[in-house]
Symmetry: C2
């Protein structure tokens, strides 16, 4: 057998018009089998400027009375964004066409799916978040006052894109967050989310007594104009829920939620985002910013999971979700946090009930508290399970959660871990074509096509290194054994004889 | 506040007599809170010889007609092993006493639990494997002809003990496996399992035509005499199941199963372990070796999961389990493998049904095939879920699964990952006291007791290193902030104010 390595090239799958051209990585295995893998265009870290693929689409819509993807979907209009997202979703798992633009429009119209794409983020390659579609993964990046800087965060953005982040949240605090966010937006083909109250707190130099609605509103408006695709806003954290939070061991652990609570305490007032929710929606609708309704009261430990604070806030959020839907603002719902395995499903089910089937976007959940340093794993366990039950997007958790800000290596580890959790959920949900890559891997295993196995894996370079470290040099080219069993007896070789005798 | 670090000491909890003394690590946190953690005595790598704690117990039983823990349990006799295991189980999660020796005896008598403890492994500190008890984790070690040697494997044993392996399987192949196993047995306070057919194949120099029942029987007898606590024997892989295996993409991936199948092919005969099962049970009963009824037809990829080969073999194994139970031989059941999330519960449920509630012992299952290099995580997801449903012991999977033999570092990663999965399952099952350590962690978090957090974590040194890397040096002593949010705004500090106002 001639030794042949798999190859890869970028291809574009076009929609009904030439300007809808969705990039994919086409992998050709050593046996000429082909498999498509998702990618984003313009994620090359050396690229000077990102293509503004949506600019003509947005311009062509001019001063339409529809503003958001939700508006268009409700009006029965199929946008380029919907078509783009449908192609992306369909070919992610093989060459069938399970999802049409109409399918996407239907889900968006019903509020069961969201396409985060600010009109001022023309570089954004549209993607859809919803239970019917593949499970998405968000990567958090962002500098803090103590750690990390501009170059480091841009490097994390590129790392996120390389390892398949579907959206990226910029959680920067400290100085220079505006400039950093501008750079991130202009370099990002995936939707960018933020927590505006972080910048609001910076603008008042950390003094919550100065953090008024006017300050908050201006931040939201500035960020919407800048092109942020979704905002986490903790508007469901109502004042009457505070006594429940006060009874907890860990109280409030959401940073945004706790800033909001701090403002409420300082002013002895209701949540300003709740009080001004109509005005917030107005800004979001104008720029088509999706609202990620934040769970300021998410539990920070198993001890606080599923309590009145958490579920009470979820009910409040559900009411806000309905208002968003009525007002043409796309929204999804943020979820926990720390939840034991026996209550994971309950969280998904209550979210759907209270929040009228708006997409759920969870942080894990982490199924135990005792593994700092390994919380990408504790959260991937809960994440895979809740995504299988219906959560649309998982926020990654990195190995440094609870200990430090993620490094670029942590970003990679977090993404690989959550991409596998999301894929496991897609397999469990039975998404059409989801198993194609797994099956290609199985065939490559049985035929000792090692380099095909590496190419098909979520982290090819790493898989190769682990394998190579134990292989004798002379065997590096397609050996018909591996270090696990050695050359003498190999289960894989036996199977040929079993097939010959029994599979007639 | 004076800065105080947590301390740790080894204590012994005694049973009804002084010779039952179970070691624990007693952690005293900086606020004088105490918490017990499991450990094994004699795991010090520098120790010259392991204490033979069971020697007097075994001697005192003399020539009793009861041979195994199952015999004793059926006869209503409480052994020291049961008492020891009950104490260990009870104090693992706090200072209550949820399990009595009678509870353990009852589960063992019913065949729902197993205490693997060969009469010739007096160094073994008894532990119980069963659905009612905490989820256990097995670590595989072992040299192969291509990779790894004696010292390396002993180092892996110590690594396994350090990171909490409840049992260890020695899967060595190649030369010198007898000497290596002897060293492992004499150095191990945890039960040691093997797959005897590996050594049988070595004895015939890889020539399956020479692998007869006589050869196999002699290996089993020799290993039983040596002190192996449990044997994986693939006796359920009947000849009539071969055509189902032949139809698979991956065929047979279990190494032991495929050796057995190879012998069957070569001799055109039924499975020799099946044919001679009575004689096997006789040897196992004589030395109280537990049988781990192996799933030679476990699926090796999502594509082969839950097929007729797998479930047909499980039914066969169930019949053998009943024969074991009737004959006083302790047994448990091995399970998959690769299984998608939507079929994980079904595997546990069918095992209980077919195998009359004998303990289930699974390898993962891995919930996707596309993450070689990260298969400790794909399998921990399936493992946590199936253990929550009722699996009694998880066989760890290391990051190098499918690629190479595990290194000592892989052993550590595999164990940490599976200890957290097992603990997540225990929490989900609601085992009494299981949440104590999580809650201690939450309290340490809210009070910024960083060193207590490290001490409470599954990998203290690693957690400390991640945290330390980003902390300014001057803040290393109990800072009231961390690198994630920086000193300006910290959710944890806010909570004190919320409590003051709302928790009256």
């Amino acid at each position: 057998m001639t030794f042949k390595k798999p190859t890869e090239k970028k291809i574009f799958i076009k929609g009904s018009t030439d300007d809808v051209a969705v990039p994919f990585r086409e992998l050709t295995l050593s046996n000429d089998e082909k498999i498509l893998l998702s990618t984003v265009e313009g994620s090359d870290p050396n690229a000077k400027a990102m293509p503004k693929i949506r600019a003509p689409w947005i311009a062509s819509r001019g001063n339409s009375k529809e503003k958001t993807q939700l508006d268009y979907a409700k009006a029965g209009i199929i946008t380029k964004e919907m078509e783009y997202a449908a192609i992306r979703e369909s070919y992610k798992y093989g060459s069938d066409m399970p999802f049409t633009a109409e399918d996407v429009a239907k889900e968006v119209a019903a509020g069961r799916a969201v396409i985060p794409c600010n009109v001022n983020h023309p570089e954004c390659e549209p993607m859809v978040i919803g239970k019917k579609f593949s499970v998405k993964v968000n990567a958090n990046i962002g500098a803090s006052a103590v750690s990390s800087g501009y170059d480091e965060e841009i490097a994390k953005l590129h790392q996120s894109l390389k390892f398949g982040a579907d959206t990226v949240m910029d959680l920067s605090t400290g100085d220079g967050i505006l400039e950093l966010r501008e750079a991130i937006l202009r370099a990002s083909p995936v939707p960018i989310g933020t927590v505006p109250v972080y910048e609001a707190l910076e603008r008042v130099h950390g003094d919550t007594s100065l953090l008024t609605w006017e300050v908050f509103r201006q931040v939201v408006l500035d960020q919407a104009r800048q092109g942020v695709d979704y905002f986490t806003i903790h508007a469901g954290l109502r004042e009457y829920l505070m006594p429940y939070a006060a009874k907890r061991v860990l109280g409030i652990v959401s940073r945004g939620g706790s800033i909001m609570a701090s403002v409420m305490l300082r002013h002895d007032a209701e949540n300003l985002a709740y009080d001004h929710f109509d005005e917030l929606m107005e800004i979001c609708r104008e720029y088509d910013v999706a609202l990620s309704l934040g769970d300021g009261l998410r539990p920070g430990g198993i001890c606080d999971a599923c309590d009145k604070a958490q579920y009470g806030e979820l009910e409040e959020i559900g009411k806000l979700a309905l208002r968003c839907r009525e007002n043409g603002v796309q929204c999804f719902i943020e979820g926990p946090g720390h939840v034991p395995l026996n209550r994971v499903y309950e969280n998904q089910d209550l979210e759907e009930k209270y929040c009228h089937d708006a997409p759920f976007y969870t942080l894990g959940p982490l199924v135990t508290d005792i593994a700092p340093g390994q919380d990408h794993i504790t959260s991937a366990i809960g994440g895979a399970l809740i995504a299988y039950r219906g959560t649309s997007m998982l926020c990654y958790v990195t190995p440094s959660e609870h200990l430090a800000l993620p490094t670029a290596e942590d970003v990679k580890q977090g993404l690989i871990t959550f991409k596998l959790a999301a894929h496991a959920a897609d397999l469990g949900k039975g998404l059409p074509g989801a198993q194609l890559r797994d099956d290609a891997m199985s065939r490559a295993r049985v035929e000792f096509r090692w380099y095909d196995q590496f190419a098909l894996s979520l982290d090819p370079e790493h898989a190769y290194q682990v394998w190579k470290a134990q292989m004798p040099d002379e065997c590096a080219h397609e050996p018909s054994f591996c270090s696990m069993c050695g050359p003498r007896f190999c289960p894989m070789r036996l199977n040929r004889r079993i097939k010959a005798k029994y599979d007639k």
